[in-house]
Amino acid sequence: MTIDQVQDSIIEEFSVFDDWMDKYNLLIEMGKSVPVIDQRYKTKDYLIEGCQSKVWLHPEFRDDKIYFSSDSDAIITRGIAGLLIRVLSGRSAEEIINADLYFIDRTGLRQNLSPTRSNGLQAMLRQMKLYAMAYKAKMGGS
């Protein structure tokens, strides 16, 4: 599936529910299937700044693609990390850099997560793009 196809199915999954409590339950469920970061990467180096709860994000470069794993001490945050990973993990650096993540607005997640939480989401996304840019630069330079 392309990035946009994954985004569309996420939008579809959230649109089933009207009540925000149900949407949160879905997010909590999604948090359970996050590729869990290896314990040895749960360090300051992989901690994302800008989130009020702790989020760690680790990139792995394999066959010209980037695979992310993550964890958070807050379950809702873990769910959000899970969504971003579902959309962006296993993609090329180019795809990640150019991805336009419209699902954040279309699922209503941006408005309904508190500003600090939304910053956390932005911070996670920015970090993923930064990893992709760093990887691309490294490959281009060799």
Binding site: Y24, S53, D73, I75, I76, S114
Partner: protein, 405 residues
Amino acid sequence: MKDISLIRADFPILSTSVYGKPLVYFDNAATTQKPLCVLETIQDVYTEYNANIHRGVHAISDRASEEYEKAREKVRSFLNAAHKEEIIFTSGTTGSINAVAFSFGERYISEGDEVVVSHLEHHSNIVPWQMLCERKKARLKVIPMNESGMLVLEEYYKLLSPRTKIVAVTQVSNALGTIQPVSEIISAAHSIGVPVLVDGAQGIQHGITDVQKLDCDFYVFSGHKIYGPAGTGVLYGKNKWLSELPPYQGGGDMVANVTFDKTTYNELPFRFEAGTTNFPGAIGLASALGYVDALGRENIAAREKELLGHAINILTGIPQLRIIGNNGSGISTISFLINGIHPYDTGMILDKLGVAVRTGAHCAQPVMDFYEIEGTVRASLCFYNTIEEINLLGTGIEQVIKMFS
């Protein structure tokens, strides 16, 4: 006391909804809502007599100056300060503490001197003193706290020394709601001639503070935490200190005479109010204090005690919940944690149920470090909250527990 439904009608925001649910506002320690009289007072300033104070010779400037000085008198009587000149309007608690840290520091602190703060302070009563210590090569000493969220007086007494130049402590812990023994702290400091600044940000709105009885040398608070406008605050300082301190900021209105050779400063309190102050805010703050007095501060304290008792009952009835600090003898602010559930997760779900609480470290990182926790959920109540709202918090927490376990 006025009937609760009438009180709530005074605060328009309390009848609004979030996510289609009635707003339950339990974040009063962060900021309080404003009664109509405050909103109307500010509107009156701008629609009837908006003009710069202490400068104009014209009618509305006179009126604005007069109302501003009346506001100062209102603050004086509210705190029972001895003189009106001892009341300085500032931008808030943070502004007030920075002013004292700077001015007092310039005059009295030098290398090797010591400043005493406590482990319970919020960042506003830590960082300005740290900055001062850095500037003057002085040392910061910290009064330790105990598991109950109280300062340990025996340890405080040991910290006092001939090098101690000032003590700055909070009246009430913002993170935990515990009331601190400031009277004892002040008498001990005074016994060796050291002045004390009391941070009243969380104390002023929950009872009667009489600065003469307390005998503190400085007392600071924010207007927005006592039903007044944001961006207003008060610095009370005993005349004997304020008249010795150099001004904090230079500008208009704080001067008597300006030439390029030498400027002489204006008298108190104007010396500490450089530039055009937030006079509509100060006038609005006086209106808020008038509202509090009309309800009666003893009545407010009694009602908040009743709400606190009910909240403690509801929360201690939830076995997975742990209250941090306040055992019922503090103000109506309760910090808590639910077993295995991150405060953010709790806060997010409560928010969707219409219940506004604060989560995180509450700008008091050292307090969280003491308990070795990342943060808490804090529900801070005040007189306009109701028993039904507290019950909603209880059922909301039950729902959170169900969702995350």
